[in-house]
């Protein structure tokens, strides 16, 4: 067996240029595939993180009917008990209660349907990114009378700027039309332009007078100490407050929740397509090697090399090619993914398009270690399969005819 392995290894280097071309194509194929997957994962991680930090958070509590119609009367049951429980729960890192009303926001330049979110401005800073995303003006610090923080997109649509007035109209809990004027104190810009165009933030106390109950709350948003605790906290709170609806970020935005699972399949399918293309290259080079060495193989069979050993020789040659390519491809991918995982890739040239999908323009590549193991197994499997056809072709050679071939 050692001699068969030795012959196979030396055969790989008989035609150095050809072997190097296949090795290079495998290295580049692996690198491009892994890097593309790492970039996709990075983009999706950013999207999930941005959504959680901006508006999803880990767990949300609502009145069960609230999410269907944003009815102003669909407030949380027993809000003080719920808030007290959350405050004492060890899984909770931060939380904030909110009033949310569907309103028409108007200026002299136009009208937009938006959600007005009344927040506890101090508490909100500890877990929402809104305060960090202020690009103009301030975050509830200077304006004393009914300040509002609006998104850049809404500001553009309604031609609003700092200190300008924004009028909101809505139906109150009695069914009467109400109009309140706010003064723009800050403009935020998150990675999600849809969010920026559809949400405005005001102080909760500026809306609470609309309600008979001064503790009225439509939404309690919670950040856990660990994102993996979201489900436990949900079960916990849902059991204690069955009249309210408790949801994790995955329940609210299942398309984001399933991104990681989808990415695994995306990775497998994407890499399989690349490896399938590479396998044709391997089949081609090995078939050429077999056909070029017909006479030699015929001689080997004539003098007593049995079919199993001929088969193994071709198999080893193929495996050697992938054993050289695989570590090189993985090392190159690992180094580049690690590097761009630290410094990021600046896609600001297409930032507008990315923001429409809730993505930031800086992408940090990310690929867990288990993906490298998966690609190793997948590559070895594809290599083995690729070697079967040339090896079978070699076995079909008739030694007497093969010796006479040119």
């Amino acid at each position: 067996m050692v001699t068969i392995i030795k012959i196979a290894w030396r055969n790989v280097w008989r035609n150095k240029l050809r072997s190097l071309i296949v090795i290079t194509s495998m290295v580049l194929g692996l690198w491009s595939g892994l890097f593309a997957v790492a970039m996709s994962r990075g983009i999706n991680e950013q999207r999930v993180k941005s959504a959680i930090d901006t508006y999803l958070h880990h767990v949300q509590i609502h009145n069960p009917s609230f999410e269907y119609n944003l009815d102003i009367n669909s407030v949380i049951e027993d809000p003080t008990c719920v808030l007290e429980e959350i405050e004492n729960n060890s899984l909770v890192k931060a939380f904030s209660s909110r009033i949310i009303i569907s309103v028409m926001a108007s200026t002299a330049h136009g009208t937009e349907g938006v959600k007005i979110i009344g927040i506890e401005s101090e508490k909100e800073t500890s877990f929402s990114e809104i305060s960090q995303n202020i690009v103009k003006g301030n975050y509830f610090s200077k304006t004393k009378s009914k300040p509002v923080i609006i998104g850049q997109k809404l500001a553009d649509n309604l031609k609003l700027d700092i200190k300008k007035k924004l009028s909101v109209t809505f139906v109150d809990d009695n069914g009467d039309i109400q109009r309140i004027k706010f003064k723009v104190e800050g403009i935020f810009n998150t990675a999600n332009s849809i969010f920026d165009g559809g949400n405005i933030f005001v102080k909760k106390e500026d809306l609470i007078d609309l309600f008979k109950n001064k503790y009225a709350t439509h939404e309690i948003a919670i950040l856990c100490n660990n994102i993996d605790d979201s489900n436990i906290l949900k079960e916990n709170l849902a059991g204690l407050f069955p009249k309210n609806k408790v949801e994790t970020w995955k329940d609210i935005s299942p398309e984001l929740g399933s991104v990681q699972e989808i990415m695994v399949w995306f990775f497998l399918i994407f890499m399989s397509i690349i490896l399938l293309a590479l396998s044709f290259g391997i089949v081609n080079i090995m078939l050429m090697a077999v056909l070029e060495r017909k006479r030699e193989l015929g001689m080997l069979m004539s003098v007593g090399l049995n079919k199993t050993k001929v088969f193994l020789m071709i198999l080893f040659e193929t495996i050697f090619i992938s054993c050289i390519s695989l570590p090189l491809g993985i090392l190159l991918s690992y180094l580049m993914i690690s590097y761009y995982g630290q410094v990021g890739i600046d896609l600001s040239i297409v930032s507008k398009g990315l923001e429409a999908f809730g993505m930031k323009s800086m992408v940090y590549t990310d690929l867990p270690i288990d993906y490298y193991f998966r690609i190793t197994i997948l590559t070895l499997f594809v290599t083995l399969i690729s070697s079967l056809f040339p090896a079978r072709r070699a076995l079909k050679l008739d030694p007497a005819e093969a010796i006479r071939s040119l």
């Binding site: 001699t3 030795k6 012959i7 030396r10 055969n11 008989r14 006479r295 030699e296 001689m299 080997l300 069979m301 004539s302 003098v303 007593g304 090399l305 049995n306 079919k307 050993k309 030694p399 007497a400 010796i403 006479r404």
Partner: protein
Amino acid sequence: MNVIETKNISKLYKQADQDIKALNDVSINFKKGEFTAIVGPSGSGKTTFLNTIGGLDSPSSGKVLIDNNEITKLNSNQLIDFRLRNIGFVFQSYNLIPVLTAKENVEFIMLMQGSSKSIRDKRSVELLKSVGLDDQLNRRPNQLSGGQQQRVAVARALASKPKFVLADEPTANLDSSSTSNLLDIMSRLNKKEKMTFIFSTHDQRVIDRANRIITLEDGKILSDINVK
């Protein structure tokens, strides 16, 4: 005692709509220690005959017996093993393994037979010395001349201690000095070790050294002459 015995072997090839008889009812015996040249024009059936007695080709009819064992009954794997243990081959184009050195090429057959490293080392060096290549042990085929490659091929053919050696036009690609050198080596091995050699050849220099000359034509034996 006969080393090789053929009984009425015929070999039929189909070419387009025509049946071509490469061998036609050939019955012949070879004794141990013979140095035989098989001659005849191109297409007379020389190579087919060598392939048939070497177990590389099976006859359409008839029997081939090696040491009284009928090889025509063996399946392909048994034939491979049979060739490994009983027959040495020397080919026209040397057909050495290009990625192995001269010594490794000679050792290769013994390795397939399962010989130990010490035996392989000793015998491969001995054989290469006997063909005058003890100073070229670690050279690869592309570093050797045609004559030297063919001498390595002879050493390889003898490495397995075969019952006989089949050589298909072994001197066809060699110049006259290499041919003479090769024939000297094979004659010496034939006399010293009583090794049976069967050549197919057109080369008069080989025919001149043979002690038996068989002439084939149209797949039939035209003459079988013992030369004293």
